[in-house]
């Protein structure tokens, strides 16, 4: 999923409405069916609110979900 995060520059213009902070790429923990990964994802540096963009959710993330489900 690493290569995807390269195109995340545009999310720096997104704001966490609660904290007023622009999102930054931060290491975030992801888990599924007992597997744990860390990934750089756009999230609020203050409260940690994280965005999973559509292309990630329906693209790479979906593929990995399917692979893990067949393990």
């Amino acid at each position: 999923m690493k290569e995807l995060t390269a195109s995340y520059g545009k999310y720096r213009e997104y704001l966490c409405t609660n904290c007023g902070c622009p999102l930054e790429l931060r290491k975030t923990e992801i888990t599924y069916l007992g597997s744990v990964f860390t990934l750089e994802l756009p999230s609020c540096p203050s409260c940690g609110l994280t965005l999973i963009p559509e292309e990630l959710a329906l693209g790479k993330m979906y593929e990995v979900e399917q692979i893990l489900e067949d393990k």
Binding site: E13, Y14, L15, C16, T17, N18, L23, T28, E29, I30, T31, Y32, L33, L41, S43, C44, G48, L49, T50, L51, I52, E54, L56, A57, L58, M61, Y62, V64, E65, Q66, I67, E69, D70, K71
Partner: protein, 760 residues
């Protein structure tokens, strides 16, 4: 799955059994493969098949007397295939490859007496086993071959013998052969070909009752055969004799497992349905020309079974047949670490049961798949994405918002309970109300209304825990209603209840309706329609008859689809196919719809939605029995999952308010979130299985807690994780207080900082 269980399944599917010709051939030549090759004009392919199977291919392939003709399946449709003629045509078309043997010498020696086709076949097989073979015979060792038929010229016979010599077979005069009793020394064991008179003399003093299985004579290690009138039979004896020689050398049993060595009866099944009889092309004295051979080969039925595959798009989709699937599933279940690549296949069967009704041996994919799913659930290897959505739907349908069990207003007991089922309630709530009014008016003994889920989704998902829990609740509600007879609208409910709770007496709504006078205002379709029976009705002939009787009484003419009634198929809902493999379910629904140009007439709400989803004009029988406002009922689009849910909630509330005068339940706060959609957005949500109610809750959560992300263009992004799926929505609050849903998606992975706070 135990291996023995796999074998039980494997034995039932006879698709891999040999065709009749191959089974009947004493040497088991692949006649089907030969016909396929010749039919395509590939004579070299044909020669390869001949060379692979027959000893002395250049001779035998020209003189085979084709005993297969007596049993060839084509016999029943015009006449048997002239396989002998086809073999000869292959040989006349070009040279054999005559590849030298690449087998290491085994160090063992074997002797053969005689130079008829039987002896030489034994010699050839012996060389192929790596033995040093010595043939004792007359000096003109081609004489007996050329005497067989004018088709065997001196040149052809010579070629065979030269090849044998090249492979190390030595020819020595018969006179040099040591006396039989002494063969034990240098040239033992021995095969004696009885189609050579000089060889026969060797056995003059030996008693003539040879063992038919091993061909062993009274002298141990000496085998004899080849006196059959059939040329191919003589060659087969040679092969059998050399097999015995092999076992003798290995000191193995001369008898065990030799049942299918000679001709045997195949267990294959091949349907002749739709096969036009075509007579054989007469075989000219000099053999077929290439084009004649091609024509004759094309009459071959290329015998196989695949009866179930021909009628099931799912079985066809995965490219094989049940025996192969059983192995694949077995392997899938046995995976310890690694990829379980058959998971989706296992979850894509609709469990309709048609295959077991079509298969000559009753092979049941439904049984196989149900066992496999059960095992996957038991070891916690069921992919969550396959069944989460329907199971969540079932959880809702069995929650207080969707369940209702009441005696008729003012009554205290009920002889009947109308059980509409989840699908009709969601797709056509108006009909549930109308039916309930109608039944109360027409039936004596009191009619309760019982809205609940039969548990079929849990059963299909092999979630015995959920099914059992639900069934216990159903039993309690049923007892509380005084154990009335259940009038079920849906055959899936009938099937599940009859199978798992037979003490709860059920009857089909259709059987009840067929027995009552018609309601006022029945409408007729404009044109004749085609009737589709739901798959769960296949074993309910009474229900199918009642539907036909009712439609007849209404004056509706229905065309019967070629595979209907007992052999009907699934719309794609069954077995949760539509959840585990939506594209396949749609293909199957579209395939069924494509079987007729007429509009479909159905009597299951699932079928109605599944066909309508593919754009097939489909109406429910209730649309004519109790016509709604629309005049063209077959054109009404399918009801989305979101709308089905709202319909259920709405119906329960309406019935409680109007029939039982119960004060309205307080609406949930999120219900006040009003959504608007740009064009196409509702369809996108439906396809992504995102319910409107989830988006409403998501927005409420985001707005109340200010947990959202704002894009530069002012729209908001927020997420919610009610259970095991995180939902995202992109939305814009509008001045009139509504929210425009601009996009929505979901993922199953849990991400820190996303999808918090979802109360179920």
């Amino acid at each position: 799955m135990k291996r023995a269980r796999l074998q039980e399944f494997e034995y039932k599917c006879i698709q891999e059994e040999p065709p009749w010709c191959t089974a009947a051939c004493p040497l088991h030549l692949d006649g089907r493969g030969l016909c396929r090759a010749v039919g395509e004009g590939k004579f070299d392919e044909g020669r390869k098949i001949i060379e692979r199977t027959l000893p002395l291919p250049g001779v035998l392939g020209r003189i085979c007397d084709a005993p297969c003709r007596a049993v060839c399946k084509r016999r029943e449709a015009g006449g048997s295939i002239e396989l002998g003629g086809l073999e000869r045509a292959c040989l006349d078309e070009g040279p054999l490859r005559r590849r030298p043997l690449l087998i290491p010498k085994s160090g063992s020696a074997a002797a053969v007496a005689g130079c008829g086709i039987s002896s030489l076949s034994a010699a050839s097989d012996g060389a192929k086993k790596g033995y040093s073979v010595t043939v004792f015979c007359r000096p003109d060792n081609t004489a007996l071959l050329t005497a067989l038929s004018p088709a065997v010229t001196e040149e052809i016979a010579r070629e065979e013998l030269e090849w044998l010599e090249k492979q190390g077979v030595r020819f020595r005069p018969l006179a040099e052969m040591p006396p039989l009793q002494e063969t034990d020394s240098e040239f033992s064991p021995l095969y004696v070909g009885l189609d050579d008179p000089e060889a026969v003399l060797l056995l003059a003093d030996v008693k003539r009752n040879f063992d038919p299985v091993s061909l062993e004579t009274a002298i141990p290690g000496v085998f004899a055969g080849g006196d059959a009138p059939s040329f191919i039979g003589r060659a087969a004896d040679g092969r059998r004799g050399m097999k015995s020689v092999e076992r003798y050398l290995q000191k193995a049993s001369l008898h065990s497992s030799r049942e299918t060595e000679g001709p045997f009866e195949t267990r294959l099944y091949t349907s002749l349905k739709g096969v036009l009889p075509i007579p054989p092309l007469p075989l000219p004295e000099g053999g077929y020309s290439p084009s004649e051979a091609k024509e004759e080969a094309r009459r071959c039925l290329l015998c196989e079974c695949r009866e179930c595959v021909k009628t099931c798009i799912y079985l066809e989709e995965y490219g094989a047949y049940p025996k192969a699937y059983a192995r694949e599933i077995f392997n899938n279940l046995s995976v310890v670490s690694g990829t379980r690549s058959a998971n989706r296949m296992i979850n894509s069967c609709s469990l309709c049961g048609r295959c077991e009704r079509i298969c000559p041996n009753g092979f049941s994919m439904r049984e196989l798949i149900t066992e496999a799913r059960g095992e996957m659930v038991a070891v916690n290897k069921m992919p969550p994405s396959a069944h989460d959505f329907p199971l969540e739907d079932m959880a809702f349908n069995t929650s207080s918002k969707a369940v209702l069990a009441r005696h008729a207003p003012g009554a205290e007991k009920s002889g009947w309970a109308f059980f509409p089922g989840c699908r009709l309630t969601g797709s056509s709530p108006g009909h549930v109300r109308t039916l309930y009014d109608f039944l109360r008016e027409r039936l004596d003994g009191g009619v309760a209304l019982w809205m609940n889920c039969c548990g079929a989704p849990a059963r299909w998902a092999a979630r015995e825990d959920l099914f059992g829990g639900n069934l216990a609740a159903l039993r309690e509600e049923w007892a509380a209603l005084g154990k009335p007879v259940i009038i079920a609208a849906c055959t899936s409910c009938l099937e599940a209840l009859a199978a798992e709770a037979p003490e709860m007496r059920t009857v089909s709504l259709w059987e009840i309706l067929a027995g009552l006078d018609l309601p006022e205002g029945v409408r007729l379709p404009g044109e004749e329609m085609a009737l589709h029976d739901p798959c769960t009705s296949a074993e309910m002939p009474g229900v199918q008859r009642a539907v036909r009787a009712l439609a007849g009484k209404m004056g509706i003419k229905g065309e019967e689809l070629p595979l209907s009634g007992h052999l009907t198929t699934c719309c794609g809902w069954g077995g949760l196919q539509i959840c585990a493999n939506p594209p396949l379910a749609e293909k199957i629904a579209a395939g069924r719809g494509g079987e007729t140009s007429r509009d479909l007439l159905v009597y299951c709400a699932m079928c109605r939605d599944a066909f309508a989803r593919t754009g097939k004009r489909t109406a429910h029988l209730l649309d004519f029995l109790f016509p709604p406002g629309e005049s063209d009922v077959a054109a009404v689009p399918h009801v989305s999952f979101s709308d089905q849910r709202e319909n259920r909630i709405g119906l329960v509330r309406e019935l409680k308010r109007t029939l039982w005068k119960e004060e309205e339940i307080v609406a949930e706060p999120w219900e006040s979130v009003r959504l608007v959609y740009p064009a196409g957005m509702e369809e996108k949500l439906e396809e992504r299985r995102i319910l409107a109610s989830v988006v409403q809750r998501l927005i409420l959560h985001a707005e109340e807690g200010n947990r959202k992300i704002q894009k530069p263009d002012g729209t908001f992004l927020a997420s919610l994780r009610p259970a095991s799926v995180t939902y995202w929505a992109e939305y814009l609050p509008r001045e009139d207080g509504t929210f425009e849903v601009k996009n929505a998606w979901s993922h199953r992975m849990a991400v820190a900082g996303a999808g918090e706070g979802g109360e179920p």
